[in-house]
Symmetry: C2
Subunit: 221 residues, 2 copies
């Protein structure tokens, strides 16, 4: 009998809502690396109870976006060049494995999915849409998810998120899009559709390493 105030009604549970919002704030840098995350402060910011905030922070700990310190609460995960380079290294390693397995399982349903994801990403990119990030991730995950290796996919997804956090922190998404990544994505897509594992892997890793060099160069802080 609480008057059904949730007219927006998007979130199923307060915990999940807090999780998504905090996650977005950390990924975009709105909550800067290393910042102390006080329950009370966040409780006010998200206007919800302390329990959902606390549980959301716990969940973010698994994603390595939040660190828990002894009995002293939580803080946003710190960043470092070392950490960034490790993320890049692991992504190259794991995504190569996943991509090869995906291509090994290739079928026409997967090809259809790839083409669609790529199309949606291009469309979102042209409109400068807010959901380009989501479409971009969906395309990259679609490249990998035909491997049918859920643990591996989970790790790739985690590392992907950690990486775009660095992209946001370095310069925001705009400068990233200045480079012609359309051509790079097209190359990856074409190779995957040709079931050319070696070529797809090369294009994909080049794609990541190029972004990596760009970000690394901006990170002399």
């Amino acid at each position: 009998m609480d008057a059904m105030l949730d007219t927006e009604g998007k979130e199923t549970s307060a915990t999940h809502g807090a999780y998504r919002r905090l996650r977005a704030m950390i990924l975009t840098g709105e909550l800067p690396p290393g910042q102390k995350l006080k329950i009370e402060q966040l409780r006010g910011l998200l206007d919800t109870g302390a329990s959902p905030v606390r549980e959301a922070l716990s969940l973010l700990t698994s994603d390595m976006l939040v660190e828990r310190i002894d009995q002293r609460g939580f803080r946003a995960a710190p960043v470092s060049k070392c950490n960034f380079e490790e993320i890049l290294l692991l992504r190259c390693n794991l995504e190569e494995t996943a991509l090869r397995a995906s291509i090994a399982n290739a079928d026409s349903a997967w090809e259809d999915r790839l083409v669609l994801r790529h199309y949606h990403m291009k469309k979102a990119g042209q409109k400068g849409a807010h959901d380009f990030e989501d479409a971009h991730k969906a395309f990259h995950m679609a490249l990998l998810d035909n491997a049918r290796l859920p643990l591996l996919l989970r790790y790739c997804s985690q590392l992907y998120d950690l990486n775009i956090r660095y992209r946001y922190l370095a310069a925001g998404v705009s400068s990233y899009k200045k480079r012609d990544i359309n051509a790079e994505h097209q190359e990856i897509l074409d190779a995957a559709l040709d079931r050319d594992a070696e070529g797809a892997k090369r294009h994909l890793l080049d794609h990541y390493r190029r972004t990596g060099e760009y970000l690394s160069s901006q990170m002399e802080s």
Copy 2:
């Protein structure tokens, strides 16, 4: 002024205590795969409040030992041959990377650590000590931790735990120790001390694959 009842006093926080105990119960199979984990039931079992139990389950979700279902609570992660094989695959991939990086950074301090861990493991194994598992994991992690890649190490540790869960579920620890793993460990250690990356990797992966075949054969259920 609560009379200082915690004479055992090992646990720093109720949450962490609940986490460790639940983790152990899931790894050993005391809480079988797929079982519904009701808060009330666990609250009684660990005699603590509902909040620590809830938070511990959240943390275990990150370790992929517990699954969260919609708004219907938690359950112990299910097992399958597929899942086991994926764990084995990822371990081989990730541990090879970590081991090579560890050896590339080799120094005498690391060698000392390795020798000590190996000695402790052997000692615990001879006595049939309860803490053989801990020593075994410590040795394997010591092989990898000189890579100084914390994310990678974390993944390896997670996968290690998921793997010993299958070992417990298949037969308990006893039958595993029947095989002569001492020789295998010695080969790995010697190759690592020789800074022979290729040999160490071969012995390590053989070690895992042999265990994997043994467990796979027992898993026609």
